[in-house]
Symmetry: C2
């Protein structure tokens, strides 16, 4: 099943998603953005997509409209877009409810959330990206499954409430684990040490974590309840109260969850 799709947005998700959809055999009819210049960055990677800077899509031949913009701009576009009859309006956000599309002129609404971190300068292999889908309309949900399946072998139907919980979990697993690496980089730099030394350890720990589960993979002074080392580390970090407190609190939580 091939679809005619309009893309609304010119950010990282639109940048990767539009060409991937075209490659999967769908037709990208239009790309909407605030400026021609932003739109062109995407349309030049596509065959036939037209540029659009207004939200009147009454003449569009698309049946699926994908909003791929920042979270706080979703409801604005949803409220303003003028859609043809029987069209499906989707957004791609992990943290915005399906209700944000509730006041639109769309006949059907849904979520088409690729659970991955997108940057313009990094290739994404969509085949490995989990797509989280939601729609109150069963026919629409079937179409979303087919659309996702054309890109990836991982599809999950997840309701807005669960998607919200998942987003919190993703912040811990992705943003916060990345910030732990950031703090580590800073400690090394402050001491004049080469961060490269720590990379094999990070790779091994996190491979182990994803393979065995993080509880089994845990090691270190908090896991061993080695209070002398914990105290020495806490002392070492007293040049930055906030980081010392992060050290104390996470160590305590590791101890509590042994």
């Amino acid at each position: 099943m091939k679809f005619k799709i309009a893309i609304l947005g010119t950010g990282n998700v639109a940048w990767h998603l539009a060409p991937a959809l075209e490659e999967a055999g769908h037709t990208i009819t239009e790309v909407y953005g605030r400026s021609e210049k932003n739109i062109k960055g995407i349309t030049q990677k596509l065959y036939t997509a037209e540029s659009k800077t207004d939200l009147d899509f009454t003449e569009s031949i698309a049946e699926i409209f994908i909003i791929a913009v920042s979270d706080d701009a979703i409801s604005e576009i949803s409220d303003e877009i003028i859609l043809p009859e029987d069209s499906i309006l989707l957004h791609t956000s992990g943290s915005v409810s399906i209700e944000a599309l509730g006041y639109s002129s769309a006949t059907y609404t849904g979520i088409f959330y690729p659970l991955q971190s997108f940057s313009k300068d990094r290739e994404i292999s969509f085949g490995e990206v989990p797509f989280l889908l939601e729609s109150e309309d069963q026919t629409t949900l079937q179409k979303l499954k087919k659309l996702a399946k054309s890109l990836s072998h991982l599809q999950y139907v997840v309701k807005s409430k669960d998607r919200k919980a998942l987003h919190v979990a993703a912040v811990f697993a992705s943003n916060f684990s990345n910030h732990m690496i950031r703090l580590s980089e800073e400690i090394m730099a402050r001491q004049g040490l080469d961060f490269e030394m720590l990379k094999p350890l990070i790779i091994e720990t996190l491979s182990k974590s994803l393979e065995l589960g993080a509880k089994k993979a845990q090691t270190g002074p908090a896991k061993r309840e080695d209070l002398n080392t914990l105290e020495a580390h806490h002392q070492f970090l007293n040049y930055n109260e906030q980081i010392a407190e992060i050290y104390r609190l996470i160590s305590q939580d590791i101890i509590d969850s042994i």
Copy 2:
């Protein structure tokens, strides 16, 4: 340069290190442990090593003695071991100072710290393990470099003070990032969601982090200073005060370091 080496300890480091040293052409003369059973787990992987449950090594032909035991047992073994003349006594710990070997009968002391997380049930490719070396004696340090080089292409000379800082950095990069994944697993499990969904995101984020540096790789609500989402997530976590506080504190630190 091939060495005759005695291994003191039967834990994870000894388990991996002894066979790797033998494979690199060195001779393991003895393995010391508290019980024959523990020792046998290692000696059965070796050609000629003898078992030893006492610390009198006056008759040993080894010139290098590597203490690979838990941190708090290092100084005890160091104090009690009776060594032949001109021998080198090393330990393999990231967090214990070289001074812990100061009261031993060794002529030379040093650190031979493989910066990696070892588990008995996981193979380690030593070629990629950074070895952190230290000795006050230059000849000993040259021998340590040769010994490390026979196992790995990564050797660094790091003084005890810097090694201590590095250990704090390693706790953040390895133990704490792993704990963030643990908390994420728990949020998913609590909501009845499949943690598999998050794995591609984790792999991509951390690959990006190691490639570009964690500052550039950061994304998410704190990085965007999206206070509405931060507040909603904090509310969501109010079933566990400590985890909610971890969320608040790390988010604040991300905001402070933008």
